[in-house]
Subunit: 185 residues, 2 copies
DNA sequence: TCATAAAAGCAAATTATTTGCGTTAATAGT
DNA sequence: ACTATTAACGCAAATAATTTGCTTTTATGA
């Protein structure tokens, strides 16, 4: 079976997964990624390495699994009064979180895994957040660009620059937002 | 020392690097990436595993090194008559190459390595190609958007979609190009 | 309550990685 | 041209990670 689908909350599988994830998070907090190994994680989580190998396949998949969990947004985009202000605030925070050391590592983990399902999930999280901002704007009676256009013109450039070298600063992010908002109106 | 800087063409280091790269390319052509190991590469290249470990550190770095080599553009963007046509033709080919199976794997290899230098190089290759198109357009007396704007509005969306789930089709690519060309004029 | 099946533990076998040390080959100075 | 120097390589032993067969545990549903 695939990992994590249909785990009964109190089941053994769920407990193992929780303790393994926890062990990974703690180890990543206290040492560099190159030093984290499966036997180490297993030891800290109180399971045998073979359990991890059988469930996740390899370290890369496990790290991707943990990373996508941590990349799940934990709150709604803040309401800054208008669609443009909302998007601006959200995009700046997104850029900052994703370009931070841990953020970059999590993205890398997600993209490095062979299974692309995790990467899709991340994009889906982002799409949902943008969707919320769009809905709110429309409920206010404002014009707001299509979600896919925001993905193309705001999210993608931010992510591209984070992945391929330079970190986008706040001014550039604001610029991206004004451009897409200008085009929509 | 860092790999590949200042290698005399006929030196031993250069020969080792060439045979290792060749071995990697051949192995990747005949089996899946999960099956390629350093001892296997070493055997095929006629070197000992420890040589590879010492020079590249781990498989990830070696794969990234090979991938960035293969991602280097081997020709100039074709001249299609106008800046817009040039960019359209180039972007479509870029999207196609990068979203192909081997293309995606090479990108993944580059991004998965801990050193970000390789990823920067890839973005630089792309920037140069776009720069050539821009220069050609300006030499013709045409208006052409800033290279960074093309990176943001054409390259980044293509790459984002390839990495995070869906492959952009030709129509979408043309759409991205018309948008950035429209804004410039 | 019991039968079943999925997941985990254990341990042995295999495979990959690291490391110390001797050797080779390119480079620079005389 | 010859030799001293040094970086890179080969070899092999030691360590660490991964795989695998088999047994045991633990949810789940009849």
């Amino acid at each position: 079976m695939t990992v994590k689908e249909n785990l009964r909350p109190g089941g053994r599988s769920a407990r193992v997964q929780a303790s393994v994830h926890k062990a990974v998070r703690e180890l990543l907090a206290e040492m560099s990624r190159a030093e984290v190994t499966i036997p180490l994680i297993a030891g800290k989580a109180g399971v045998t390495p073979s359990t991890i190998y059988r469930r996740w396949g390899d370290l890369q998949q496990l790290l991707a699994d943990v990373a996508v969990d941590r990349l799940r947004p934990d709150m709604q985009p803040v309401d800054a009064g208008s669609g443009k202000a909302d998007l601006e605030a959200w995009a700046e925070q997104y850029a900052e979180e994703m370009s931070s050391g841990p953020g970059r590592e999590m993205i890398r983990d997600v993209l490095a895994a062979q299974a692309s399902a995790n990467a899709c999930k991340c994009a889906e999280f982002t799409r949902q957040q943008v969707g919320l901002i769009a809905e709110r704007a429309k409920a206010r009676g404002e014009a707001f660009p299509d979600v896919e256009r925001v993905m193309d013109q705001v999210v993608a450039p931010i992510m591209y620059r984070i992945l391929f070298g330079d970190v986008p600063d706040a001014a550039r992010v604001r610029d991206l937002v004004s451009r897409v908002m200008g085009a929509a109106l």
